[in-house]
Each structure stands twice: as C-alpha cells, then as structure tokens.
C-alpha cells in the first residue's frame, strides 16, 4: 500500500483514541446509491432522504436533542437565511447543520458508542448549568452565541470552564463529521471524487496556473 489521504486518517485517529468496544451493530447496507443499471457513476447518485419527517432520538432525551440541534446549527449555520429554505438549499454552500440532519447523525453515533455517552450528557448538562437562570435552549439566540463564544475562542477561556471548552471541541467535531459526510455537505464543498472522469484530470492552462509560477 502507499499513500492515503491525511485528513481521514486524522479523523480516524481522533476517533480511535476514544474508541472502546460498544454494541456491535454489524454491517448494514441501507442505502444503495448505485442500484440503477449502466451507465454507472456518471454523476453523484441521489440517496434516500436523510431523515424521516419526524425524528425520534434514540439516545438523547427530547430536550437534549433539541439542544444538539441548536448547537449544531450554531456551529455550521445555514447562510443566506433571508431566502426561503427551498431556495437556500438549492445552493449547497448555504446549507447548515439542520439541512444536513447533523443532529440525527450525532444521536446515532452517540447511541452506538458507550464512551461518548457520558461526555455528551455531562457536556449538555454543563451548557444548561452555565446558562444562568435559564437552560441553554431558553436562552435567546444572541445569548446562546455568547455562551458558545466563551468556550470556543482561546481569548475568552476561563480556567474553571475547561469542561465546557472540552465539550465544544467534541460537539464541533461530531457536527463537522455529520455535515461533511451528508449529501448536501459534500455538495457544499463540491467534493470531486466518486465521479466518472474520461481521462486523468489535468489542470487548465490558464491565468491562475501562470500565477503560481510553476
């Protein structure tokens, strides 16, 4: 073997560090994207809808789940929100965590990994306890953002808020994992793999290439 994409390795290493044996679900293929006949893989195939009309969390309590939805959307928000949702997601670059079903992904992943469960539980509890007289969900949107800023930016770090800072790192990691492995998330970065190319892709001979001086 030779070579590998460094990014996926990094993710897997980060995951492996925390991995312990949990309930094995075995292999399940629940969504065959390329079931249709030839010509094959000429474009990114459509997948089944990423979420049911009503989602019932399997690990989180309903209030915890709502907090996860809110946190994920704060981390990777839909942009250009003034436009109707149907138009917004027509440009995947504007899609947010909710559009991608990120909270459902996190609920599933946490339900499958016993080592994650206390970390999410206590993290969400920390968010509530740090929300003053309210809990996190009942904060106004600017208040939620302000609380997150306290634990997301080094310049705001308080020594006694380490548990919150750790939870932010965890929550952000799983939000990123869920978003950029969803269909719309991959479209948002225009993932160019898993496509059909008639020849070995080459860079265009254009002004940009010239500007690189190579």
């Amino acid at each position: 073997m030779a070579g590998q994409h460094p990014t996926r390795r990094q993710v897997l290493e980060a995951l492996s560090a925390a991995a312990i044996a949990a309930t094995a679900q075995g292999f399940c293929r629940w969504n065959w994207a390329f079931a249709q006949g030839p010509p094959r893989h000429t474009h990114i195939a459509p997948s089944a809808p990423h979420r049911a009309a009503t989602y019932h969390p399997v690990f989180f309590t309903p209030p915890q789940y709502s907090a996860v939805v809110a946190l994920a959307e704060l981390i990777l928000p839909a942009t250009a929100q003034h436009r109707p949702a149907v138009h917004r997601v027509s440009n995947p670059a504007n899609a947010g965590a909710t559009d991608a079903g990120v909270a459902e992904f996190i609920d599933f992943m946490v339900s499958q990994d016993a080592s994650l469960q206390p970390r999410f539980r206590t993290g969400l509890q920390w968010m509530d306890e740090s929300a003053g007289t309210k809990d996190f969900l009942t904060l106004s949107s600017p208040e939620q953002t302000a609380l997150l800023q306290r634990i997301a930016y080094k310049k705001n770090f308080q020594p006694n808020e380490k548990p919150g800072q750790d939870f932010f790192v965890l929550m952000r990691k799983y939000t990123v994992m869920g978003f950029y492995t969803s269909r719309i998330g991959l479209e948002s970065i225009d993932y160019p793999g898993l496509r059909f190319y008639a020849e070995s892709p080459s860079v265009p001979q254009d002004a940009f290439l010239h500007s690189l001086g190579v």
Binding site: L12, A14, S16, P77, M109, P192, G193, L209
Partner: protein, 565 residues
C-alpha cells in the same frame, strides 16, 4: 472433491505470488490445486462500488467495535464487507511489542486493495551489500530479473514516465497520471531543496490493457475496483487459469502444514476447511507456498516432521528470521495558501499515489547520510473525501464554515516509506502456548524499528518541513510512525541465497532442503528497499514458475513425490 487425486502442484495463496504461479503453471499444462484461506469476493457486493459516505451507517467512520478491531486501518472499513479482511485467526506479538497485521485472506488477497505503487528494484538494491558492506547481496542481478519485470509490466499495466535514474530503472509504461495543482507546487518546492519529485510507477490503467478497461478515476481504488482497472489476481490472472480447465480453487482452506513423504520431500498440504472445521489433506508432486511473508514462515514453522524437526526447509535455521518492514508515517503536513478558496479539483483520483519522491539519499556514495541506504516518500492531499483544517480553525458559525470551504483544496502531506534493515531482533516464530480458533499454533512476531530506520524517519521529517516551506506551504507538523506491519510490505522470513547454510531458498525460490517446495512471495526477498514489494513478487514468481515448469518437463517431479535432481 476427489481426495485421492494427486495434483501436479498445490499453490497456497492466491495473491500476487499465488496468482502468478497459478497463471503460469496452468498455462504450461500443469494441474493446479489452489488453497485459499478465505472466500471469493463479489465486487458488486463486497467492494465499495461507489458508495457515498451517507450510504453507509457510520458514514465511513465505522462502528466503535470495528474501529477497535481494525485500529482504524484505512483499507479495512465499513464500505467493504466486514469479513473481507481477516479478523478471526489470532496471532501474537512479542511481549511489549505491537505488530498490527492487516491480512486479506479473501481470494486475490491484498491485490484486491493494494496501493499499486510498482517501481522496479535495481542493482542499487540487489547489490546493496557490495556497496555499503551491510548484510548480503541478493543472489540475482538486475539484468537477470529485468526481462521478467518487462513481461509483468506489460501484463498488468503500469503508468509512469521514463526518468533515467540508475537507482530507479525505467520500465515499459502506460502514460502517467497528470499532475494536480498540489503536485506542481510540491514539485517546485522539491526542486528547490534537491528532492526528486516524479510520477510514481502506478499499476493503474491510464489506457485499457487487453480486456481490462481504462481507469475512470473515481478514486476509491483501495476499497476495491468495480471494473478491474488496476491489477488484481481475480481480474487479471485467475480467469485465464480457470479457462485452462486445470485449475481447482479450494476456498476457506486454511493451510496448517506442508506434508512430507518418507524421504522428507513435500507430498501435499493439510488444511482446515473453515466451513466444516475438519482437516483435509490434498496431495501433489510439488508445493508452492505463497501465503504472504509472515504466513508462509508460519506454515513452514508449523510443518515439523522427523526430517524437519524445526520446521520445513529450516536446516539453515533461518526460517522466520530476517523479518523487515517499511516504516510508514506522516513525515509532515501543512497546507498550500496558493490554493485557498480555489474551486475543488479531483486530487484523489488514484486513492494513493500519483507522484513520489524516490530515494535520493546515499546515491553518490553509500555513506553520505547518518544512515545507510534510503527511503522514499509519497505526497498526498488536496480535495479529499473529508475536508481538512476543521480542527485548526478557531471558532464556529458562518465564518468557520466558509473557512473550511476555503481550506478544502489546500492540505498536503508526505507519507514516508523507510525500510528496516536486517536485525536478529526481528523474526517470526511459533507461540509456545497460544493456538488460534482452529487449534493451529499461532505465529508470533518479534519486531522493533532499528536505529537506521529511525534515523531515516528523523531525516524525512526535516526534509519534508524544508520541502513544504520551499513550496510555500504553511507547515503544521508531523505524525508518529505507524505500527510495524501497517505498510503490508514485510519481507525476508525465507530469504533466497546460494549458500544453503545461510538461506532458505535458492535463487529460484526453491527451498534448499526440499526440492519440490517453492516459495513465491516477499518471504524470499532479502530486504525491504525504498520500493514496494508487489512488482518484484510478480517478477520473481514468474521466473520461479517457469523454473518449476522446466523441472516438470525434465521429469523431476513426474512421479509421486519428488525425485531430487
């Protein structure tokens, strides 16, 4: 199956070595029974077959149980069927050591998923001991093996360019992959620091070869190719063997030991049928063991008899010894600001190597560096299946999301491929107590990196940092070496050599002790080099197989049991 039949040849294993042996022997008219420890694969069911991350349950991150089982090994993941790689048969590492040993016992073995880097070795490798005084030369020269390299390259298709470097002999190549932006930038940086940055020798079809279609550059090669656009034995070698009518494949047949007759020559193989857990014996006039380096030593060490009390073909005492491996590791990574915010580009079209930096150390004189011999590196990066930078970028929100997108085309890094050198500390033996679930005494691997390899690792980190900075990259750091075993490039447990007191096989892969026993995998290689092993396994096996055919034509194995020449 006919249990009383005596085949011409039993071949253990269907990977690069086994596949080539089967192909060559059946084509020459010999009857071959192949034993394969796992099952046959169906690309449509067992390979990734273009599944997107959102088409699998854990989005490609795998279940916690599977991550623990595979240690995050990147080829063995939830995109392919869970039994494609071996997880049932246990092995041991020496106390305090950890050898992670990905084994593909499915038909075709690791050729189903290999990284496809296919450089020829040269006399700088075969004659290394003469150059620097360490260890011993190979018993073959480049001139002897070059015609076999050429035939193999034409058979399997290797994409590269003519590069005119004595340390990297050129072969017969298909057009090379086109360079990506990351290659052009890294190449410019490499030129500035005196590191060669060249198209790799990649066994991937940039043009169709025979009935095999050209690559479509989807980039998921290491999870199996749905159309067979790179070499693997199930696509390239086994179909021809089947057409001869002289090839019988027994699957789920886990070889336990090679059986010998009253003269101590090979007469067959005892294997466990994994579906019934019963032992079965099969007989032949000659036996080829091509189970992969460590497994071949394991089988022979477990083949004890009156004639061979310490294992079969072990009168030299060298069976299982001299284990070498490639150290792999992230020698450095960063990102290229020149590409920030650029549209995405299909950088990941080969899932592995488009370019490499072949060995440039110790070429002018063998002791220029603080280590002997040399290493190579493989670049990677660009627009992958998962964005980079998300851990480094501070904060959250719309700006965070925009920055991830901006960084998406920019990550780059180098994987080092540093060969270990022969050491008495590195070897395979049989665990004195532990058995696997079929009752077979387990292989135990003793391995630690030698000082020479660690010196290469340090050198590679310094070089990579200089190279990345010269390319204009933001340098972000390096990783740690992977576990020994990770590279899949282990060599040397049954080394070939002319002296029967020092080597297990002769220059044809024929064991010195047992004339009708041949070894056709990396176990016969003298050492790792800065190159990968598969192409050399194929070339040596083609040569060995034709030698076996000559032996049959000469009547040496024409009756029951072998009659030594």
């Amino acid at each position: 199956m006919d249990t009383s039949k005596t085949y011409d040849v039993i071949v253990i294993g269907t990977g690069a070595g086994g596949g080539m042996a089967i192909h060559t022997l059946t084509a020459a008219g010999l009857n071959v029974c192949a034993l394969n420890a796992g099952r046959e694969l169906d690309p449509a069911k067992d390979f990734r077959d273009h599944k997107q991350p959102y088409d699998v349950r854990f989005r490609g991150f795998d279940s916690p149980a599977r991550r623990a089982q595979t240690e995050g090994y990147y080829m063995d993941n939830e995109y392919i069927s869970p039994d494609v790689w071996e997880h049932e048969i246990e092995y041991s590492s020496a106390p305090g050591q950890h050898w992670y040993w990905p084994r593909c016992n499915s038909v075709g073995g690791k050729t189903n998923f290999w990284g496809r880097s296919s450089a020829r070795m040269g006399d700088i490798d075969f004659r290394a001991a003469s150059l620097d005084g360490f260890d011993v030369d190979w018993p073959i020269s480049y001139a002897e093996i070059a015609p076999f390299y050429s035939r193999v390259e034409k058979q399997i298709g290797v994409a590269s360019t003519r590069q005119n470097r004595a340390s990297n002999p050129d072969g017969d190549y298909l057009p090379a992959f086109n360079y990506r932006y990351i290659d052009l930038l890294l190449q410019a940086g490499a030129n500035k620091v005196g590191v060669p940055y060249l198209p790799d020798r990649t066994a991937q079809l940039t043009q169709s070869v025979g009935d095999h279609p050209a690559c479509h550059y989807c980039g998921n090669c290491t999870n199996g190719c749905d159309v067979g656009a790179f070499f693997s034995t199930p696509y390239f070698l086994l179909p021809d063997a089947r057409k001869t009518g002289r090839f019988e494949l027994r699957t789920n047949a886990l070889a336990r030991e090679v059986l010998v007759d009253t003269d101590g020559n090979a007469k067959g193989v005892a294997y466990i049928d994994r579906t019934t857990r019963q032992e079965v014996q099969v007989y032949a006039k000659a036996v080829v063991v091509a189970a992969s380096c460590v497994s071949t030593a394991h089988i022979l060490l477990n083949s004890k008899s009156r004639h061979h009390p310490t294992g079969l073909a072990n009168s030299s005492g060298q069976l299982g010894k001299n284990l070498c491996d490639h150290m792999y590791g992230d020698a450095g990574h960063g990102y290229l600001p020149q590409l920030l915010g650029r549209p995405s580009f299909p950088d990941n079209v080969s899932a592995a190597t488009i370019a490499w930096t072949p060995r440039w150390q110790n070429l002018n004189s063998p002791h220029e560096e603080k280590f002997i011999r040399g290493y190579s590196m493989y670049p990677g990066g660009g627009c992958g299946e998962f964005p980079s930078g998300w851990e480094d970028i501070e904060g959250f929100g719309a700006e965070y999301k925009a920055e991830i997108k901006r960084r998406y085309p920019t990550p780059v890094g180098f994987t080092v491929q540093a060969p270990s050198q022969r050491s008495d500390k590195n070897f395979v033996d049989i665990h004195p107590d532990k058995k696997d679930i079929y009752g077979i005494p387990q292989a135990r691997i003793h391995f630690e990196w030698d000082a020479n390899t660690l010196a290469m690792w340090e050198h590679s980190k310094i070089t990579t940092k200089r190279l990345l900075l010269a390319a204009g990259a933001e340098y972000q750091g390096h990783g740690e070496p992977e576990s020994p075993g990770f590279s899949l490039h282990e060599t040397g447990t049954c080394r070939m050599g002319n002296d029967r007191h020092k080597f297990v096989t002769n220059r044809y892969g024929q064991t010195h002790d047992v004339p009708n026993l041949f070894l056709c995998d990396a176990s016969v290689l003298l050492n790792c080099t800065d190159k990968t092993t598969t192409l050399t396994i194929l070339a040596l096996t083609l040569r060995t197989s034709e030698y076996i055919v000559q032996q049959f034509k000469g009547g040496r194995f024409s009756t029951d049991g072998a009659k030594p020449a």
